[in-house]
Amino acid sequence: MEELNLTFVDETVEKVGTGAEKVLEILQALQGHYGYLPQEALERVCELTEITPAAITGVSSFYDQFRHRPAGQHIIHVCVGTACHVKGAEQVYEAFRSYLDIPTDDDTDPQKVFTVERIACLGCCTLAPAVQIDGVTYGHLTRETVPKVLNDFLKQAGTAHRTRARRRKVRTGAGEIRVGLGSCCVARGSGRLHESLNKALVETGVRVPVKRVGCVGMCHQTPLLEIVTPSGESSLYARVEPEDAKPIVLRHFGARGPHRKITGAVSRTLDRLLTDESWGPVTRYSINVRDREVSDFLGRQIHVAIEHCGHIDPTDLDEYVRHDGFKALEKCLKELQDDEVIGQIEASGLRGRGGAGFPTHLKWSAVRASAGEKKYVVCNGDEGDPGAFMDRMLMESYPYRILEGMAIAARCVGASEGYLYIRAEYPLAVKRVTEAIEKATERGFLGDNILGTDFSLRLKIVAGAGAFVCGEETALMASIEGRRGMPKLRPPYPAHKGLWGRPTLINNVETYAAVSWIIRNGADAFAAIGTGQSKGTKVFALAGKIARGGLIEVPMGISIRQIIDEIGGGIADGRKFKAVQVGGPSGGCIPEGSDNLSVDYESLTAAGAMMGSGGLVVLDETDCMVDIARYFLQFTQNQSCGKCTFCRIGTRRMLDILDRLCAGEGKAADLDELQHLAEIIKKGSLCGLGKTAPNPVLSTLRYFRDEYEAHIDKSCPAGKCKALIKYTITDDCIGCTICAQHCPTDAIAMRPYEKHEIDLEKCVRCGTCKSVCPADAVRVE
């Protein structure tokens, strides 16, 4: 074997440092360089640093991000988050594997070009099913589009670095063009749109600034392009393709030179699109806030955490300051006493937005009251719930607001150092927050003597490495300290003994994001929104089988039905609403019929769900609730840190039963057994992950017991569980052979003009035939 060049290890250690807490950062660098973690490299790290062999082995095997065997040139991460799961992620995963001829015991094709891995959640739920190939995200995959995506990727990979940004002179007061550049938008092509827009401006000679803005929340309409003319008139274009860029520029800003001639013709075409009222998926058109769908989508929303959504450039500090940015911090530093600030937070009724809803002021007061020279503030950006992407969007689009909230908190509790722990799956968030910290420090909003006062705060980013349990605060701190993300028994609480044994304040991204609004607008304004116990607003990621998925911020107390019907536009594809999964693996399913439930901490818990961090995955009649429960147990069982017996083995035993049920091997006693295990795991587990892991099972058992019973009788009413269904072709078959052409296992013989038949021995129940049949002649039973 070729000897490995270890100079990169030496350079990395030189750059990063030798402390035991640097282990994640070093491992991430090594993996980035070598594509995996060669043992020689790890041994070299141990020689050069305080990191022990036990620590490096323990840590590198704990996090999903790390590989211990070589990978192909490109890594395909197939998202198996909740929204992707219900939209067929497993089939996409299988399709990649079979298209690339990956052997069963491997994850890389024989030519070592592509490695296919599952990933817990990319947080691009509205694009479900989504995949990420070396940082390029593709959405809405099907078995059929797999080859197209691979081709596109290879083509892009060859050309991407040839694109050059060209600086242009822009006229002020010339209006502006806004392009949404959140990760979802980029995945849907807004990056390419941005490029083609710049090209169009050069070609047409139009001088208008093109501004990137954060997530607008209307993920179902991306890529979005907003044109603001010099007169201030705004037009919003949805689902814009790169080739539309030029006509749109010409339409609104006219052209100089030869282009002027064609403007009129183009404009007429676009007018036709403008008058198109339908929200059909086929083409791009201009929409307007006055349009009913847009007003419905936005109408019920109240923007606190996502204030100025769609208007401001995420990392433009001047713009943030122009929009009252850091005013709240200044007020806290120069006008208010720390206890007054905490009093404001208390009066606002703000509760932790990470899931459990602990009153924020109590945490702040506890850390403030803790004795200690050194204290820390930590921002929990480890949004691991599959089906949730609020925190990603907040960090990508409003980094300064989070930093401002952290600074205010740090000032109140007496902390001068802090960390933002951000999931590794969110590279754009890491990039933007890093940029924001740099700029804010440069301008004196962070760093030493902030705004000329004696208050100093240094913030660092720690990128997670793929472990859901690190969202649990004690596990998160262990991870920052460079250890395996294993939770610890509380008390002691982080407020008393946190990072490196010091008092530590940990709040969620969204909690920090609400702080400056409360200080600027007053606690009363915040408390005026919401219900008795749950004040203010909550950001939700709305995804799954919904017509208009996206990111929304709504007042607490809004009903599930209002969210789904009014904001989300009901169920996609005319299907029937069945349930909404709230709160991810810690939450539960609220069924159709209970959907006038008020969205607040207490109501959701009483209904067997949980606020969680705010993922809402909508399920329709084709979703099997036993499969959903199994999906979540598979997730928690895999993500359990493995420390306490109830969680480590108990969740596995629950999964064993659910596996048996889905395979048609369930017994009547299994349901009682599930209930028993669920209760004992809830009662006995050490941390929040284990205590809430049974919720998806308990809530589906509560509302959909009949479906469990059907599985015991060997039938899956939703037609999802492969072992319990079979596909047949009805007499409606027109003999078109399309199904035979698409069947991945040749289970359908090609018989032109005759009725086709499915060989059940060969059939893998992928459903491709049903989805391609033009005559609707494939039946599932």
Partner: protein, 537 residues
């Protein structure tokens, strides 16, 4: 100093104390597995959970600090159920046998693997003590036993079972040839008398164990000589009367009295026997018509007894052997005698009569592909021995060779394993949760320590000990969730991971995951040697 209440009793403890400390101060026993004094609680096994008033969930006593006024319940149904569930979950993922399949298969549950290791080590005095702990007539059985143990011997699937029966005969024969054959220690006399009706294998065995337990036994038999069917039904070429007599002589040496040519119900009435003796054990062999009535039992062709205690319907009257069951096997009769002796002792001591405690036994069941090879690695590869002279049994060298064929299926920490102990006291069942078992793995590269990951409960105590001792490689958790395993970093062998603290890790490991290679049953071999001394009546 905070005051807390546990199970209704108040105690004052140090501010830093845990609930476990407080319970200890009160003398309340809380089971623990992953907790090791002097180390920070790892709170992983959750067997020590208790209920704290006001808390929604249960908390581990080992890691929960006391608060003034705290009210704790350590023995309510909820706590007991949770502890049992924790144990049963651990057991559902526990790969290994507490005792060897041979000992499980032996009706008398003799500790066969231990006997075999003692033979291999040349500890013959220890070996006979092991044998006689469960089998009163080993020289006899060594000749006539159908050896159900060999049917279930793991090695039977490979190249023939270990020749257990002949090894046992070898141990017993060697013992009888010594100047002073082995006699167990008897407890001081308790002043209570037991009548045993029938001097066959069941009766003799009962007398052997009851006499050791301090009860005076008188064995009634209508024949001229003791031995029952062993003397009168088994052909002498199979079982010589000398061997039988020698082994019975050892029983008599304990003080057992024989009343031969005396038929209870005929020459002496059952009423008289019950008046004279505090308890009666009926071991008359297969009943002939009229026997039952003579013994004042319901007319039947067999005596009806409680399956666990051997008690008949008459108070103080117990029965065993061929009188109670149809399937005839001497080893079963000997086992009946031993087990009934336990019930009779309980009865005479005024205790609850339950019969012998059934030891918890984890079982891994049939081997999968590749697992036989793991077991074979440490055993001799020679084929099953047959004695050069079948009539004489094994020679010393043959016995030693045969003993080295044992696969050592039993757990090296069978007697000290906390999982087994708590499973026993909590009445935990291993099959409570259905599960696919993991493969059996054994790491034997370390000179002194064997590591069986399938028995590990992932508590991490060994990792802590190695880390504190600054082992160069040490141990670590590898992986996450259900698949997490303790291993040496960089897949190095255990001998590299534990250079300094192998012994300490073995002692701290709550299960048989880390064990001394040469451990007998959790004890070092030397200690075991002292268990049996000669006659010290």
């Amino acid at each position: 100093m905070p005051r807390i209440t546990i199970d209704g009793r108040e105690v004052e403890v140090e501010a830093q104390a845990t609930i476990l400390d407080a319970a200890e101060k009160l003398g309340i026993e809380i089971p623990t597995m992953c907790y090791l004094r002097g180390h920070e609680a790892t709170t992983s096994c959750m067997v020590c959970v208790v209920k704290v008033a006001g808390a929604a969930s249960l908390v581990p006593a080992c890691g929960t600090s006391v608060r003034d006024g705290m009210v704790v319940e350590s023995d309510c149904d909820e706590v007991r159920e949770a502890r049992k569930a924790a144990l049963e979950l651990l057991l559902s993922d526990h790969v290994g046998d507490c005792v060897g399949p041979c000992a499980t298969g032996c009706p008398a549950h003799m500790d066969i693997p231990l006997m075999i290791r003692q033979i291999a080590a040349g500890q013959m005095r220890g070996a006979i003590a092991t044998v006689k702990r469960d089998i009163a007539l080993p020289a006899v059985l060594g000749r006539i036993c159908p050896a159900p143990c060999e049917n279930v011997c793991r090695r039977a699937q490979h190249d023939g079972a270990v020749s257990v029966c002949l090894l046992k005969r070898y141990v017993a024969d060697m013992d009888l040839q010594t100047a002073e054959p082995y006699l167990p220690r008897c407890l001081p006399k308790r002043g209570k008398r037991v009548a045993i009706i029938g001097a066959g294998p069941a009766g003799l065995a009962a007398a052997y164990y009851l006499q050791q337990d301090g009860f005076d036994c008188t064995v009634f038999d209508d024949h001229d000589e003791p031995g029952g069917m062993l003397r009168y039904a088994v052909p002498e070429e199979e079982l010589s009367h000398d061997v039988l007599a020698a082994e019975i002589a050892q029983i008599r040496k304990l003080g057992v009295e024989l009343r031969l040519r005396t038929r209870v119900g005929v020459s002496v009435s059952m009423e008289d026997v019950r008046r004279e003796f505090e308890a009666v054990f009926i071991a008359v062999g297969v009943l002939k018509p009229g026997d039952a009535e003579a013994l004042k039992l319901a007319a039947s062709d067999k005596v009806k007894v409680d399956a666990a205690t051997y008690a008949t319907d008459l108070p103080g009257v117990f029965a065993g052997g061929d009188a109670v069951r149809r399937r005839k096997m001497t080893v079963r009769a000997v086992a009946d005698g031993k087990e009934a002796a336990r019930s009779i002792a309980q009865y005479l001591l005024g205790e609850k009569v339950t019969g012998p405690a059934k030891a918890f036994n984890s079982r891994m069941g049939k081997l999968r592909d590749g697992e036989m090879e793991v077991f074979l690695e440490a055993a001799s590869s020679s084929a099953r021995q047959t004695p050069a002279d079948p009539a004489a049994g094994f020679t010393a060298s043959e016995a030693r060779h045969e003993s080295l064929r044992c696969l050592r299926c039993d757990c090296r920490k069978g007697d000290v394993c906390l999982l087994r102990q708590h499973a026993q006291t909590h009445d935990a069942r291993q099959t409570r949760y259905k599960a696919e078992r993991r493969p059996f793995v054994q790491e034997t590269q370390h000179p002194d320590v064997v590591y069986e990951p399938g028995k590990c409960i992932d508590c991490g105590i060994c990792i802590e000990i190695a880390s504190q001792a600054r082992e160069k490689l040490g141990l670590t958790f590898v992986g996450r969730g259900f698949d997490v395993r303790v291993a040496v970093p960089f897949s190095a062998p255990l001998s590299d991971g534990l250079r300094l603290v192998g012994e300490r890790c073995v002692a701290a490991c709550p299960t048989g995951a880390l064990a001394r290679k040469d451990a007998q049953n959790g004890q070092s071999p030397k200690e075991d040697e002292t268990i049996c001394e000669g006659d010290e009546r």
